[in-house]
């Protein structure tokens, strides 16, 4: 193993500072006792965190986003697992086209998806509906779930399934007792990644949310374009803390590098 020279390490340090600086500054400013965006130097205060809770719209949006991401990720997994099974295990006409269709939201900019959903919803009178909002999020996150689940299926040792079949298990039993436990890590990883992607989604959501269904990122974007006060920093700091917690769980359970890197 070769070592990094001093210049390489200096460069690396600068990159790390660059990546962490905006997040660090948010976490510091969130504790300011002042009325302006300033880094606290002498005293810390939790007043801006308290301010969030007297703004019910932020709390509502947070709860809304939680429900949205939970539902969308679950529905996405329910659709992606059978689809991945079919694409991985069967040859049928249109298989490649379907695979491309399911992955297409990755190459269609979210902006374009957003205006397309808006047009459809305007025509069928679905604007402002929470159920349809969930459906749009399912579309956007399914490619991520599908890729992780497909990777789990194709990395599977098929001889265990064959052994169970030979020993007289039914196809359903094989799936439930042999296949499912082996692909479960991939499915769980896919669910969590889908949840985070749905929870963070802004560009598409901003076109299809109504005042009743505003998600947290959309609320934050709207708020930040109009006024900037330290409460925005407090909300952001809470989101960073939540993401960091989710990352730790993901990393402990599956290895974050595997989920983010391995499947790309």
């Amino acid at each position: 193993m070769q070592k990094n020279g001093p210049i390489a390490l200096l460069f690396h340090t600068l990159v790390v500072i660059f990546m962490l600086a905006p997040l660090a500054v948010i976490c510091l400013v969130a504790f300011t006792p002042e009325n302006t965006l300033s880094i606290p130097t002498t005293s810390f205060s939790l007043r801006w965190f308290q301010a969030i809770f007297v703004h019910p719209d932020f709390v509502d949006s947070f709860v809304n986003s939680l429900w949205l991401a939970t539902l969308a990720a679950s529905i996405s997994v329910a659709l992606a697992v059978p689809a991945a099974l079919a694409i991985d295990r069967y040859q049928f006409p249109g298989r490649d086209a379907l695979n491309a269709l399911f992955l297409s939201p990755l190459i269609i900019p979210h902006l374009v998806l957003g205006v397309a959903f808006l047009r459809l919803f305007a025509l069928i009178g679905a604007t402002g509906s929470f159920a349809w909002l969930v459906a749009t999020h399912v579309i956007v996150i399914t490619p991520y779930v599908l890729r992780l689940v497909m990777a789990a299926f194709s990395g599977l040792d098929r001889s265990a399934e064959q052994a169970a079949l030979t020993l007289g298990a039914s196809h359903w039993t094989v799936f439930r007792r042999v296949t499912a436990p082996m692909v479960l890590p991939g499915i769980t990883g896919g669910w969590l990644l889908a949840f985070i992607n749905s929870f963070d989604e802004l560009t598409m959501s901003i076109f299809v949310t109504s005042p009743q269904t505003v998600t947290l990122p959309v609320r934050m974007y709207m708020y930040a374009t109009e006024s900037i006060d330290p409460m925005m920093a407090a909300v952001s700091a809470l989101m960073i803390a939540l993401t960091a917690a989710a990352m730790l769980v993901l990393d402990r359970a599956f290895g974050l590098d595997k989920i983010l890197v391995g499947q790309k």
Binding site: M1, Q2, N4, H12, V15, V16, M19, A21, P22, L23, V25, I26, I39, L79, P82, A83, L85, A86, I87, R89, Y90, Q91, F92, L98, L101, F102, I107, I108, P109, L111, V112, L113, V115, A116, R119, L120, L123, A135, I139, D200, L202, T203, I206, F207, P217, M220, Y221, A224, M232, A233, S236, M239, I240, T243, A244, A246, L256, D257, V261, K264
Partner: protein, 285 residues
């Protein structure tokens, strides 16, 4: 692959997803395409007549062309800077030992999971007139610089958001490279630079090319960054579409711009893929 089972099974398995995707990807895109040809009247709204006027307006008006040009320019610049930072950074990471390697990989790609609104907000605080960056500049003896609401701010924040997408594929291709091969090149008398150029670079070029494609595509359609760091004047394609839809309420024109963004995106991706595949065939024989 083929097991003796009724051919219906795969169709049943994919049908729920297929129905949803046909109804919510294909259909809305067709509807938007049709919408982009509808006549729009500022007093009565969308009319049931058809015209090419929106496309004609977009390609002939300097205002729109200027925004498209800025979008391409900033996305290209972001891609270039990401490659220049991502390549050495991935290389440095690959030469680290665990636990540092995992820790710093997490630091570099972890921000991917933090909402882009949060990251844009962080940069708007750093780059503001009294922000840390300006304080640092003044400390070093440079006058206060106007950074926020400039193209510089947009590019800085875009690089921050896109860097993980560049590091990931390069890092993946570096993982496939046996470090002993580089050491072997040194033993055989190659200089450090030659070993880098002749042994490491060919391996990571493919990763860098696929990273560039992702970074360019995502930067060209980025919304939150130009929205929060470009202000009302400095628009990019995505913020332009948003304004046409939400402020001007001219949906057909917005739809025409969105279709142009989509088609440009697809053409660039396909052309790039062709080029990369041709290159891969040449180098791999």
């Amino acid at each position: 692959m083929n097991r003796a089972r009724p051919a219906l099974t795969p169709w049943l398995l994919v049908s729920p997803g297929t129905l949803l995707f046909l109804g919510l990807v294909v259909l809305p895109l067709i509807l938007t395409f049709i919408l982009s040809f509808h006549v729009y009247d500022h007093t009565t709204g969308i009319k049931n007549e058809f015209t090419f006027a929106h496309y004609a307006a977009v390609v002939s008006d300097d205002y729109y062309l200027g925004i498209f040009w800025r979008t391409l320019r900033l996305a290209g610049l972001t891609t270039l800077i990401c490659a220049l930072i991502g390549l050495p950074e991935a290389y440095v990471l690959s030469r680290m030992r665990d636990p540092w390697r995992s820790v710093f990989l997490l630091v570099i790609i972890g921000p991917l999971l933090v909402s882009v609104v949060v990251r844009a907000f962080g940069w708007s605080m750093l780059l503001g007139s009294t922000g840390l960056v300006n304080q640092l500049l003044q400390l070093l003896g440079f006058g206060p610089a106007r950074l926020l609401y400039t193209e510089t701010a947009i590019v800085i924040a875009l690089v921050h958001v896109m860097l993980p997408f560049m590091v990931i594929p390069i890092w993946t291709s570096l993982q496939k490279l046996d470090p002993m091969v580089e050491a072997a090149a040194w033993t055989l008398g190659a200089s450090r630079f030659t070993a880098l150029r002749r042994v490491v670079m060919p391996q990571v070029t493919m990763g860098m090319l696929s990273g560039s494609l992702i970074v360019f595509g995502l930067s060209a359609s980025a919304f939150a960054i130009p929205g929060l760091l470009g202000g009302r004047r400095l628009k990019m394609a995505a913020t332009l579409v948003y304004d046409e839809y939400m402020h001007e309420l001219n949906w057909p024109l917005g739809a025409a711009i969105a279709i142009i963004v989509l088609v440009a995106n697809l053409i660039i991706m396909l052309a790039y893929n062709r080029m990369v595949e041709a290159r891969a065939r040449r180098t791999l024989g």
